[in-house]
Each structure stands twice: as structure tokens, then as C-alpha cells.
Symmetry: C2
Subunit: 482 residues, 2 copies
């Protein structure tokens, strides 16, 4: 079907969907979760066949996906997310102030690009779709070509929920991937009002480029990954070396390193403790096991990138697993110096897979230079004792400017779906660091504030009526109340 | 001085300024207000010479400007604007949830383009500067070429406040306008993290175009004006015709029509009452007086545009003032039909000045077509009685999708600086309808959310510490508390 027609249908469905009550919207999201749950076995089986991910991981991811839908249902039912603000009339002021009331309202059809590395949680019925539907936006999903059957199963669950909820048939539509042209047509269509994408830098950049060709600008929220630099401060290396080696080896190889928050860059200041840590990390990596990656394209890119890096004179191998079977990826940790890292910008690029680069800096000054050379990141991690965090306060402050999430003594993998999460960060980690793609705040990507001036109570949306019939938190004359 | 050096100085000042306490930031904003107040007479005198605006208006605008600075000072002192969100650790969950805390933090140097039509309130020390400084961003202002001396006076007041507050000298810098190249260099500089602009569509679009050439995307918040469509519903025209004619004639000619929210398009359904209204509106306009506009360029553009529209066969004159002196603008209201309006897209374009176009639509259907043909607007106004708003409910809902602010039975001119204000709207009214450039929410343009994971209390910013030392409103485990 023509993309233009699909987007027009979405715009038409939006006319109805944007006006349904929060209760209906919430019930719809819950029904999607129920329908996904009802076909759990088939979905896990199919996704396993298409992505090589193990059943335990996929079961966990499906639970995360249904929890996410229910979390957005709760958010919509609770209702305060619309950020209602009321400034009462002040007829006595000069000039007289009229009654002004503001809330967030959905903008229009949203295009969601499914991701390859989370066939459930960041794909057809994933967080982008859930947040857009929660906001009152209609959705057109472009399924990821690496798991077309899984995507259609998720879409079938959504379609059942659309029907059971009595919503317009085109509230959510699914477009199979037919190459780059499909994505381009979706982004440039006049009816599209926003785009969500999780994937590669080149993919995200292309979408941004398409969007810049539009007559009417729209936001493109592309999450393009990062190397998630981890700084190991000296005292932590001295006192916790063995434990850190285990923790980070596990984080680097988790899910064959196929996470946007994979710790791909490990930084420290040259010392015996750092050498010991490197030795132990190498040992821990070599004790892990090779496995298949998501699909052949990712595997080929990883193998090529890995071989290229390890062939560099400036880079040495810290550790790797035994040689894998032909179809499996070969986990490895490499090492270089701060000076070499600064001279070779390619070393700062993400290599998607079970790989990380340890950079030993000559001194504090070089560490700072390395940090300042880095582009925007999703996360950055501080590994340090209380002594470290006291001594390196300004270095930690510098780290905080790099990323959307700054972590103390945890591995960066594991992205909690909650209100405080920021899964975002300065470019090129994402295209818009004012927003997050994970957590309840992700809903803000699909709305705009609208101010109602001098409206009579009966004409106002419920969220803004005098009596506060929804019982939501509102900022009324600069005081939070409900 | 080279723009590159200026932006580097701004980035360097940001390293310090972003870390000053809210109390220091608030005192700084208040000191700017005090310093502006201290030179009120000179500023009003100078701005009067440069802009032809009367002293009463300029005095009011300067008061608005200092109030605005104080409002942002209050916002910063109160502190809840950082949207602190805390999700406590849940070690018992699978997987265990770490402690996650989020707040808004400033992004970096902001470039502010002064506007011509508000030499104080939207210029050097105006709302864009105030909101950026409140957020913790440093600012580089490009003064508007139409009032260079006024701009330098405002900058002198800011500089005194910088010094008195003990802040880095480059916290705010001023760049004189030296043509388009200056603006381009400011927008494309790598150190720039955001741009604020209020002005013409062509100006805003050019900045957006420059920004698209950057390696790292940044937000450009351009407010480019609109025609602010007003729909006069039938019963209101029957019952309130004379009063409406007075109110809207005054709004159209207020400040020689030099407001972004000037009602430039008046819509109604053909009727005797509409004809009577047109007649009365024409009379009211002809009773107003011509006057000088802000500068020669605006006057020339207005005169040319006015002459062109009135020369069209499809357009008739509803009313105008007596012929003005050569340097003055000639206020006028013209009229056309819905059919002609739909055929001639140029009639929907803004003509900046004391002018409005009344469009009489054949019927409800044509009115809807006209509304659907319109692009994004800053405001749209509903003029209707209770009877009207009951009958035309869906037409009013359609109006609400057009603009950032929807007004009932008020003139659109007059933009209150408060928490609920939205001075923004769908493109081409602005380049980003998720934000406002007036009111306390304008601060959100200059910040990004940052999440702190597993941080010890002493390492957290005050806004996120367990004891809530700032006493701000926070969302803690999904409950609003302080």
C-alpha cells in the first residue's frame, strides 16, 4: 500500500483517537499487554528463530514490554502527566490578566522504526509505540527486517486490542520494511508529526537528513547508541579489582554485547592496579562463551570491525574467548594508550558487539583530555571509592556533561523503565538530548503545550476544569495542588 | 572580534556559571532588573528615538522586561522547575532496581537574536536572555540593527549586574549586527547549543537552514509570527457587533499592528450581521490614526504589501484611516470571500502592520475549508456566545489544533508573562511547537534531563539529595511531595 495513503489514514484516525478519554486510552494499552501475553509462547519461539536470542532473555523482554504498556496505562489513568497549569484571571491588574490554562496535547501521527536488538521492547509494541499511544498519537510502525514475523505477531496483538477497544482501525498501522525508500517516504510524508528510531548512527543520521528536506520540520528522536565510557578511578582499582573485572566482563558480554548501553570504552590512569585489572578482565572475558549475534549483517560488521581494531599496532589484546564457530561472534577486550586513543578518532567509535577497549592514560591530565575528546553518550560510569570521588570531583563533573545518565559503581547495561530514567544524551548518542526514549517521560516527545485563554469551564478539557474532575496534580497560581 | 572566540569565551564562562547556586543566579537576574530600572529614562528616550514607539508603551514594556527578569528569579529561587524525579532502589526486584534520580540541567551557550518590535522585552535583556540565564546557560546576544543604542544600553545594565554578582565576565556577551554573516557564524559555531529568535519567517527559516549545516544538531527556537485567525460566530455578530468592531479595530491598530499576535485574519459566515460588523469595523478603523512604524524597512514592506493586496480584484476595502504623512503607515481592513481566499494562498500570509483581512465564507463548510487551509499559528480566537460555542463545538476543536493559544472572546494581542502562557505554535508560527518563548516554561528550551544512578547522597546535586534541602516539589516514587 502507498505510504501516503497509510499516513492519511493515520491522520484521520488521529481525529478520533486524540479525543478518547484517558480511561479508554489506558484500557487500550492494557489490552495490548494482555493480547501479547496471550501469545507469549509463539512470540518467544518466533523471535528466538529470527534473532538468535535465548528464550530466557526473550521471556524477560516480553515481560518488560507488557510492564511498559501497563506503566503507560497507569500514567494515563493517573493523569498528571499533562502538566496542567492554571493562572487565574486578575481583573485588577494593569493590564487585566485573563484566565490562562495550559496542558499537553498530542500532535499527530507518529512513525516508529522497530529496532533489531530488542524485538519486543523497542519494536512494534515497544516503548516508542506505547508512549505515543499513551499521549494520544496514532502510530505507524515500520517493522525491522531482521524479525518480520515477530513484528507481525506483535502487530496482530495490537490489532486485536484496537478492535476490542472500539478504536478506529487505523489507530496503529504496520508497514513491512522494503528498503530505505520506505523509511524515507514515512519521514517526509506531510502527515507525519514525529519519528522514533533506535539503531545505528548512519540510520539515525539518514532519517534526520530526510526530515530536513520536509517543508514542515518535525522532531526526529533517533537513539543511535554510544560507547558508554567507564572511568575506573585509582582507589577502586586497588581495592576492588577482581570484583570489577567480573562485573564488567559480564556487562561487556551480556546478550553478546548487543545493547546500546554496552560499556565499550574503559578508561583509567596507568598503574599496577590498572594492569592487574586488565589481566583479570582478560581472564574473565576468556572464560565467557561465543554465541550467535542477532543477524548476519551485525555479525559481519562486528567481525570486520574487531579484526580491523586488533590489527592496529597501537592496540593489544587483553583477552578473548576461544575461537568461535563460523556463525558465532568472538568476544574480546583490547587495550591502547591515551596518546594513541587521542590520535586515532576511529577508536572512539562504537563497535556493536561483545567488545570493549581499555585505554590506559598516562596521567590525570591525559584522562581529562580523553574525556573531553569524546562525543555525546547515553551513559557514563564512575567506578570509584569515596576517596576517589572526593579527589576526582571535577573529573566526575566533566563526565556528567557527556551523557544522559551518569552511573556510580554499577554497570551501564540495564535500563530501568521508570519515571526517573533518561535514555538519551548529547549528539550523536541521540538527535535530541532534551528527551528520553525510555521511561514515562518518553511520552513528552509526542505532545505540545496548548493554552486556553478566557475559556468557560464547560468548554475546557477535563484536565483544566475548575473542579479538577480528574483529581490530577496541577500548578494553580504557582502552587502545586490537587 | 571573531565569533569563534566569543563563543569559546561563552563556553568557558558556562563551566563556572552552570555551577553557581540558584540563589546567586536569582540575585543576578534581580540585579539586571535593578540596573535596567536605574537607567529607565535614558533607555525609554533612546528606544523612542530608534523605534518610533511612544514613551508610554516603552515604559510599559520596560516594566514588563524587569518583571520578567524578577519572575525568572522567583522561579529559580523556588526551584521546582528542575523537575526532580526520584525512583528509589528496589533491591528485591528482578532485576534489582538501582536508585535513579533525574533533574534538568543547562546545556551550554545560547545565542539570542534581538527582535525589532520589542526593543526591551524580546531583545538584549528580554525573555530569551532571562530564561537562558535562569536555566544556567550563558548567553551571546546579537543586537537588532534597528535599535543598536538601546541594545547597548541594555547590555551595559547586564554587564554591571555580571560584575556586581561576581560572575565570569563572559556570562553574557553582545555582538553588534554586521549583516547576515554574523548570524550565520553564531548559529553554526560548534560551541552554540541553542538559538532563540523572534522575527520574520524568512529570518527564522534562514537560521534553521544554517543549523542544518552543523555537524551537531541544535534546537533553533524561532518565533516567526502568524495571522492569528479570529472566527466570529453568528450569534456573537448578531448580539455584540458594535462592541466587537471597537475591540478588534483597537487590537488591529494597537502599536501600529506590530505584534506577532496581531489579528490579521477575521473569519465569519456570510450574513447581514457580518456585513454590519464589517461596516462598523471599517468605521472604527477609519477613526484611528496613522503613525510611524518601527523602522523604514518595515514601513516599506507594509506599504508595498498593502498596496498589492488592495489592488487585487478579489479584495475590497472595508475601511482605512485618512491618508497618512509620507513616513507613516496607513491602517486598513480589507475583505474577500472564502472562495477567493482558498484560491489565493498569498492572502493567508502575514502582512506585518496595522492591517487585517476579513473573509466572508459562504457557509459553515467553506469556513471549515478555510480553517483547514491555514498553516500553524501562534493564536486563534473564538468569538462566540454560549449558543455559538454549543453549535460550533467541532469547529472550535478544529481551531484548537491550529495554534499554541486558543482564546475565547478576547483580542489576541496581549501576551501575559506567566506559567500557563504558550507563545508558540505549529510551524510556521514557530520552528518547534513543543516549547514556548514567553512565560516561565520558556526555561525548558535550554536544559536537558540528566539521570544520576546509584549516587551517594553527598555526590548528588542539592535538588536530588534525600533530605530535599531546597524544599522543592519532587516526584518521589510516583508521588508528588516536598
Amino acid at each position: 500500500m502507498q505510504i501516503q495513503k497509510i499516513m492519511q489514514q493515520s491522520a484521520q484516525a488521529f481525529e478520533t483517537y486524540r479525543q478518547v478519554t484517558p480511561a479508554v486510552r489506558a484500557a487500550f494499552l492494557e489490552t495490548i499487554a494482555t493480547e501479547l501475553e496471550a501469545q507469549r509462547e509463539t512470540m518467544v519461539q518466533t523471535a528466538g528463530e529470527e534473532t538468535n536470542l535465548p528464550a530466557a532473555r526473550l521471556n524477560g523482554e516480553l515481560t518488560r514490554t507488557t510492564n511498559q504498556l501497563r506503566l503507560f496505562a497507569e500514567l494515563v489513568k493517573e493523569g498528571s502527566w499533562v502538566e496542567a497549569v492554571i493562572d487565574s484571571a486578575r481583573p485588577e491588574s494593569t493590564p487585566a490578566r485573563p484566565d490562562l490554562r495550559r496542558m499537553l496535547l498530542p500532535v499527530g501521527p507518529v512513525v516508529v522504526f522497530g529496532a533489531s536488538n530488542f524485538p519486543f521492547a523497542f519494536s512494534t509494541a515497544g516503548g516508542d509505540t506505547a508512549s505515543a499511544l499513551a499521549a494520544g498519537a496514532t502510530v505507524v510502525v515500520k517493522g525491522h527486517p531482521a524479525h518480520p514475523r515477530t513484528s507481525l505477531l506483535a502487530y496482530a496483538a495490537i490489532s486485536k486490542a484496537v478492535e476490542k477497544s472500539g478504536l478506529p482501525a487505523h489507530t496503529v498501522q504496520h508497514v513491512a520494511d522494503e528498503g530505505y525508500e520506505t523509511g524515507k517516504l514515512l519521514v517526509i510524508d506531510p502527515a507525519t508529526t514525529g519519528v522514533a528510531f533506535t539503531g545505528s548512527f548512519n540510520g539515525g543520521k539518514a532519517l534526520l537528513q530526510y526530515a530536513s528536506q520536509r517543508e514542515t520540520p518535525i522532531p526526529v528522536f533517533a537513539e543511535m547508541g554510544s560507547v558508554n565510557p567507564v572511568v575506573f578511578y585509582p582507589d577502586a582499582l586497588i581495592t576492588q579489582g577482581p570484583q570489577l573485572a567480573q562485573t564488567f566482563a559480564a556487562s561487556i558480554t551480556l546478550g553478546m554485547g548487543q545493547f546500546c548501553t554496552n560499556p565499550g570504552l574503559l578508561l583509567g590512569i596507568q598503574s599496577d592496579a590498572l594492569d592487574n585489572f586488565a589481566h583479570m578482565l582478560g581472564g574473565a572475558i576468556s572464560a565467557s562463551a561465543p554465541a550467535k549475534m542477532l543477524h548476519k549483517g551485525i555479525h559481519a560488521a562486528y567481525s570486520k570491525g574487531r579484526a580491523k581494531i586488533l590489527s592496529l599496532e597501537a592496540v593489544s589484546l587483553v583477552g578473548q574467548t576461544p575461537e568461535p564457530a563460523e556463525e558465532e561472534a568472538w568476544p574480546a577486550v583490547a587495550r591502547t594508550t591515551g596518546a594513541e586513543f587521542l590520535q586515532n578518532p576511529h577508536l572512539a567509535e562504537e563497535l556493536f558487539g561483545p567488545y570493549s577497549l581499555l585505554v590506559s592514560c598516562a596521567d590525570e591530565e591525559e584522562l581529562e583530555k580523553v574525556l573531553r575528546s569524546l562525543k555525546g553518550q547515553l551513559t557514563t560510569t564512575v567506578v570509584g571509592t569515596e576517596k576517589d570521588t572526593t579527589i576526582y570531583k571535577s573529573m566526575i563533573a566533566l563526565q556528567a556533561t557527556l551523557a544522559g545518565r551518569i552511573i556510580l559503581n554499577n554497570a551501564p547495561t540495564g535500563v530501568e523503565v521508570c519515571a526517573a530514567m533518561v535514555h538519551g544524551g548529547p549528539y550523536p548518542a541521540t538527535t535530541d538530548n532534551r528527551f528520553t526514549s525510555v521511561g514515562t517521560s518518553a511520552i513528552r516527545r509526542w505532545v505540545r503545550p496548548v493554552c486556553f485563554q478566557n475559556f468557560t469551564d464547560s468548554m475546557l478539557p477535563d484536565a483544566l476544569k475548575k473542579s479538577n474532575p480528574l483529581g490530577i496534580w496541577r500548578l494553580v497560581d504557582n502552587e502545586f495542588t490537587r
